[in-house]
């Protein structure tokens, strides 16, 4: 079976798409979930057609948060787009910054000092902890936990945000990376704080997992729900933990080896079933690997400048050309495609938003499942509408 | 009119409401409900006669009603299952149209 056969758009139709007969149409119930719905994670809307409680059709509707981010990027200078990238995926501003910085650095051939690379890795991995912890909390909220895992996640998130705030001045909209380094050099105190957070995080994860991982209700709800086949996942451009949950070994930190990631020893957890439980577990295990990376990076961070001395901020004009830079964000591959015509503003500024592309197969995962499953499948995709709608 | 007669009139009136419903309506569910009403009317008679019998001690009327309720419950379950089966076949539950033996 080839890949196109697996997709509903292929010749044979989807693997489990059931035909909706017209004469039965009265039996179906069309429910508009969102844009005002407690579990659509923002102003996202799904038009769900139900047969009883079973989903026979699901059409995602986007754009309620569309602000033409890319047009804004084309009308601002290269530097001016940096704070806007914070607002794409507002949980992971540090990695968004990094992805944008990497694209611009590629475009301009700008080197980055070693210390800055270490700081970037540290911040990216802390962001991964932050994102995955919150995701687990939100997913459990969708499952009907009355806020408890979410509050534990937010308790830990608070500590991370405090770190971000004391480094960059802002809790969520960090605006921290610059082309050729980072804006501020982290002090020794800050690094000590990050170390404390890292050392304590494993303990928190143990408790979090004791609450959730072995819970029979959670296992019953999530195992076998929203199964995604590796073939379809690859064809649909799904990246990040969602792809790895299907068993495909693809982590840009390993394959692209950007930054200083090759210096660290870490493993890539892989799922086997591609269901919601695997997506949850892959994220939890990734957090444990992130802790390992953080410990190595914090131990090995070198002294030196944080910015490349030749780097320019104001009046930055890269030569004409184009570049596509990408990193492994917590939600998947976040990439920036930039076309320069030599002017201070990018000619074309494109965001490859992971959660937008991961939504491509939302319907495929939801067909044949129930309404309650659709909610947790959407939760397990890990979307942030700021990024989906841009 | 004695209390017993009142009870019996009540029961026969209820029976007739059920009968009219079962005869006059074409919706299968309503017909079934009419039959349920008629059964209830019968139960009222049992209780009334037990209540006003010269020797109510053996509680036979109560026994009858208990069994009757059980039978009525079974009837409701089977009847409504039939309604659903009919609906599956002909996509409505109008009694007049349920005249084919084979779906």
């Amino acid at each position: 079976m080839s890949i196109s056969d697996l997709s509903p758009l292929g010749a044979q139709g989807g693997s489990h798409v059931r035909a909706v007969h017209d004469e039965f149409h009265g039996d179906l119930l069309e429910v508009s979930m969102g844009p005002h719905h407690p579990s659509t994670h923002g102003v996202f809307r799904m038009i769900v057609t139900l047969d009883g409680e079973t989903i026979v059709k699901l059409k995602p509707v986007f754009g309620y948060l569309h602000r033409n981010h890319e047009k804004l990027g084309e009308n601002t200078s290269y530097l001016g787009s940096m704070p806007y990238t914070d607002r794409l995926d507002y949980l992971c501003s540090m990695t968004n910054n990094w992805a944008y910085a990497i694209a611009v650095e590629k475009l301009a051939g700008q080197p980055v000092p070693e210390r800055a690379e270490y700081v970037r890795v540290i911040l990216a991995e802390i962001t991964r902890l932050l994102n995955h912890t919150c995701l687990a909390g939100f997913l459990m909220q969708d499952l009907g936990c009355s806020g408890t895992p979410l509050m534990y996640a937010f308790r830990e998130r608070e500590k991370i945000l405090d770190l971000f705030e004391s480094l960059s001045g802002s809790r969520m909209m960090c605006n921290y990376q610059r082309f050729g380094g980072c804006r501020v050099d982290p002090s020794a105190d800050w690094l000590e704080g990050a170390k404390q957070l890292t050392d304590g995080y494993g303990q928190f994860l143990d408790e979090f997992e004791a609450l959730l991982t072995g819970n029979e209700i959670i296992m019953a709800r999530t195992q076998g729900t929203g199964v995604l086949s590796p073939e379809l996942a690859v064809a649909a451009g799904v990246t990040g933990p969602m792809l790895r949950a299907t068993g495909v070994n693809y982590d840009l930190r390993k394959t692209d080896a950007y930054g200083v990631y090759p210096r660290f020893d870490f493993r890539v957890p892989l799922g086997a079933h591609g269901d919601v439980y695997d997506r949850y577990m892959v994220r939890v295990l990734e957090m444990r690997e992130s802790i390992k990376i953080l410990q190595q990076a914090l131990a090995g961070i070198p002294a030196g400048p944080i910015m490349d001395p030749k780097a320019k901020l104001r009046g930055f004009r890269p030569k004409a050309g184009e570049a596509y830079g990408r990193i492994e964000g917590p939600k998947g591959e976040i990439g920036f495609y930039l076309v320069s015509d030599g002017s201070p503003n990018p000619y074309r500024y494109r965001v490859r938003a992971p959660s937008f592309i991961n939504l491509t197969i939302l319907e495929d995962m939801c067909l044949g499942q129930t309404v309650a499953d659709a909610v947790i499948i959407l939760g397990s995709v890990d979307i942030v509408l700021g990024e989906v709608d841009r | 009119m004695t209390a017993l007669q009142l009870c019996l009139v009540f029961s026969s009136a209820l029976f007739c409401v059920g009968l009219v419903g079962a005869l006059a309506r074409s919706n299968t569910i309503l017909v079934l409900l009419g039959i349920e009403l008629m059964l209830n009317a019968a139960n009222i008679n049992f209780i009334a006669f037990w209540r006003f019998s010269p020797s109510p001690a053996p509680a036979t009327g109560v026994m009858f009603v208990i069994f009757s309720i059980a039978v009525a419950a079974a009837e409701a379950a089977v009847g409504l299952a039939l309604v659903i089966a009919v609906y599956r076949h002909q996509k409505n539950i109008r009694l007049q149209e349920a005249n084919r033996l084979k779906g």
Partner: protein, 171 residues
């Protein structure tokens, strides 16, 4: 004493009569539940406590649910809940038949002299019912038990019979 009975009877009859004439099936079902509750009230009035509670438990608690389920499962759209008006001829013949039966029954009841027994409300305890069920009526109890089991099995078989494809159970 009789006044209570008359009130109960009127409420029950009214609910049943309205239920049988309404076009909205859900309203009909809910009104019928009210009339069953009225019947239960009659049992209480007559001193058959156990039967009254059993009536509520079975009819209000269970049969009504099955009815509502059936109503909701056998409709294709919201509009289906309102039944199309029945043919006048059918209604008239139904009324004639019902009225005739009613007339005959009431006439017979009024004409028949009935000896009234105990005026104090008789009591029957749960214990007595249990003893009787297990004693004199043990055979009937068994038969009813078998009947119920068979009926339920039959209901399941009928309701799920022609769904041989991969579709789900009824919710």
């Amino acid at each position: 004493m009789n006044a209570v009975l008359i009130v109960i009877a009127l409420v029950t009859l009214g609910a049943a009569a309205v239920a049988m004439t309404l076009r909205n099936l859900i309203h009909s079902a809910l009104l019928l539940i009210a009339s069953w509750a009225g019947v239960a009230a009659f049992y209480l009035w007559a001193g058959a406590e156990f039967v009254a509670f059993a009536e509520i438990l079975v009819y209000v608690g269970a049969v009504s649910m099955v009815v509502l389920f059936a109503v909701l499962l056998t409709r294709r759209s919201r509009a289906d809940l309102t039944v199309t008006p029945d043919s006048a001829g059918r209604a008239i013949s139904g009324f004639i038949a019902g009225g005739a039966v009613c007339g005959v029954l009431v006439g017979a009841i009024v004409a028949t002299p009935m000896g009234v027994g105990s005026s104090p409300t008789p009591t029957v305890t749960v214990k007595q019912i249990g003893v009787q069920l297990m004693g004199t009526h043990a055979a009937s109890l068994l038969i009813v038990g078998v009947l119920l089991t068979v009926a339920l099995l039959g209901a399941i078989v009928i309701a799920s019979a022609d769904r041989t494809d991969d579709s789900e159970d009824t919710p």
